[in-house]
Symmetry: C2
Subunit: 404 residues, 2 copies
């Protein structure tokens, strides 16, 4: 993103022209950004060339998945629907891992039929269910066990997943029991230890702690894991203040770890690949003056972008045309939905805005459309991708008639 003569450009396209041509709300993705994110991850981790499985839950658009696939990435899926989408996008089944605490029998059956790389099981009950299905199908199924490392990811509590009070994985004691169980099973092949401590992590220390716990658990298990799945969680710079996870440090820590444990590393990043590759364009419907602040009422709402309402997450909101005139009052940027939760940000000293101006909400590529709903019978927005200076439709705007 770049302002040229005070006008916002995204992948060299004038953003206001896009908003006018395609209408708002509009999700707009940059192929270049997506590509550079993937290449950056690959660069930092080059020395041990991990299998990078894109976390499909962060963005389920089939065309996006297909673009990601072309960089030889795999997929981390958490449901039958996501698994089917990943396969439809052409992702090789031997690069797909299946996570999640509540995989149903139907889902496991399908995954086993498709011979995916790994089912990462999260409980004894699930392992018994997989074994039962494998026995019936006379198959040996490759699985992992998800360890709950009881590590604080130092992120939002709602997206922290690696503490023992969270529902994910099993503690060390149960983990070791399950290793012994699977070793004796005729139909299960234990290939992987998986962990995932949370999302939007900007400090490498929690990862260090996590690696220590993984190291300890492997030693205790005396088991040789072909794969260590370290999950995802690598945070992005939502605040645009250069707060960034130190990938170099994380990579070095993993290299040290791999000197002891000779396994193949799997990553499950979502946000760090797709998060900052999209902006959400919106038009100001009304500006309502208040005593202490003015309400900037947008045509985009919590149904289109749920993260602020759900997590109190903040996304930068930037004008498509820059000016030097400042507003005297604070602006609260809100959506049109009849809930107080439908609010995006309150900002002081913002540039003076007027009705019908366009704005861009930044970094909405991850958990944007995938969490969107039709609340207030609002159709889902159009999604476009800028690639090689051309605009592709990723997903058509939903018609109201589809909802009536």
């Amino acid at each position: 993103m770049l302002y040229i003569k005070n006008k916002l450009t995204f992948d060299k396209k004038n953003v206001e022209s896009l908003a006018k041509k395609y209408g708002t709300p509009l999700y707009c993705y940059s192929f270049n950004k997506l590509k550079s994110n993937i290449l950056e991850l690959k660069k930092y981790f080059r020395s041990f060339s991990p299998l990078i499985c894109f976390a499909v839950k962060s963005n389920t658009n089939t065309k996006i998945l297909n673009e990601i696939k072309k960089f030889n990435l795999g997929a981390d899926v958490v449901s039958l629907g996501e698994l089917m989408k990943a396969l439809k996008a052409g992702i090789n089944e031997k690069k797909i891992v299946f996570s999640g605490v509540g995989k149903t029998s139907t889902e496991l059956n399908y995954a086993i039929k498709k011979n995916i790389l790994l089912i990462n099981a999260e409980s004894k009950s699930e392992i018994l269910e997989i074994e039962k299905i494998a026995k019936k199908k006379k198959k040996i199924v490759d699985i992992g066990i998800r360890l709950n490392p009881n590590t604080d990811a130092q992120t939002l509590s709602q997206i922290s997943t690696g503490k023992k009070e969270n529902k994910f994985g099993v503690g060390e004691k149960v983990f070791l029991q399950l290793v012994e169980y699977i070793k004796r099973s005729q139909n299960l092949n234990l290939k992987c230890l998986s962990v995932h401590i949370g999302s939007q992590i900007l400090n490498h220390k929690p990862y260090q702690n996590m690696l220590k716990v993984v190291d300890r658990t492997i030693r205790k298990s005396k088991y040789k894991f072909e794969y260590i799945d370290l999950g995802g969680g690598m945070g992005i710079d939502y605040e645009h203040d250069n707060s960034k996870l130190n990938l170099k440090k994380y990579s070095q820590d993993i290299k040290k770890f791999l000197k002891i444990h000779k396994s193949k590393i799997i990553f499950e990043p979502g946000r760090s690949i797709i998060g900052n590759s999209a902006i959400l364009l919106t038009k100001i419907v009304y500006i309502k003056e208040g005593d202490k602040k003015d309400f900037v009422i947008l045509d985009v709402a919590m149904n289109d972008l749920m993260r602020p309402a759900l997590y109190g997450a903040k996304h930068k909101i930037i004008p498509l045309k820059k000016s030097n005139q400042k507003s005297k009052k604070m602006y609260e940027f809100v959506g049109p939905i009849c809930e107080s939760t439908d609010t995006f940000s309150t900002i002081k000293k913002y540039q003076k805005l007027k009705e019908k101006d366009f704005l861009a909400i930044c970094d909405v590529g991850a958990y944007g459309v995938s969490l969107a709903s039709n609340y207030n019978v609002r159709p889902k927005p159009l999604e476009i991708l800028i690639k090689n200076s051309k605009v592709q439709i990723l997903k058509k705007r939903q018609k109201i008639s589809e909802l009536i």
Copy 2:
């Protein structure tokens, strides 16, 4: 809901049979409950026979809207989609009010074309927009102005809407200016003062305060409003501990108010009509033992019922088969989605459960399906209605193939 021989019944139907026949997750509505809720509201407010406009955002199912219409109710809509749904359900346009802070030009055009009862405007800009359209169409449009009474509804902050820091309505000063403006307009006819202080209100005092502010503002305006729209917000007993809004007291306060101001009252209830008329049936996928608590992993998730994740709201969870055996450990009831937010309740001394048991999540008729999404590529659940001992399909279960 009643346990007969320890088995849960809902409108005299055995609930487990429904869960087995139709599968889970399953939204199950009771016509009798819906009916008795409507009749109760009508009874309490009989002396001034208000126009009751059902808040469509709480439940947008067209068949439900059609049932509600048969009791001569109107609709409170907040978007073009909701307005079209209300009309499709057969609700008379002269019983429809249109609320919302960000009505677009397209939405206003449609509402004006359809000659609905009232557009309740929430800002000066919106009033100017309505006037512009009315002028173009050579029409006189009936409108209301939403007053923000700066009243604390004493409810969850996320669903409190009547304080001046909230985006809704206009303060008294602007309200009075707008009354003067509209009086002089050739194309606007001011018919209504509307207020709405929030949702899930259990204490009648905030309503009393609200009525005081409304009274004061009307006096100051010296305007005769044909309608006073008092909004909705009447709370329901989610905790099942008989906490209830004192409707009698509220009704008496309104009667007192009407002795001074001879207007027709409009209500916009959603939750109090549909909230407790539905249960959400779910099956236990796995039970995972933990140190201090066991995780009961359900096949229903935050995408099916968003209120707990979004507002920290609690819904009672009850077994379909009662037993006296208690679990030694706490149960945390969670969904299968890969977010820590996907959790419903943590309960001590719950009856002992086992995998594949069924449970019912109570009071999900309002803001249940209307807030549902396809997060994690999960299809939306089936909705059924029990009416006259027969089961009607309200909405088919979404097929995964529709999502791929």
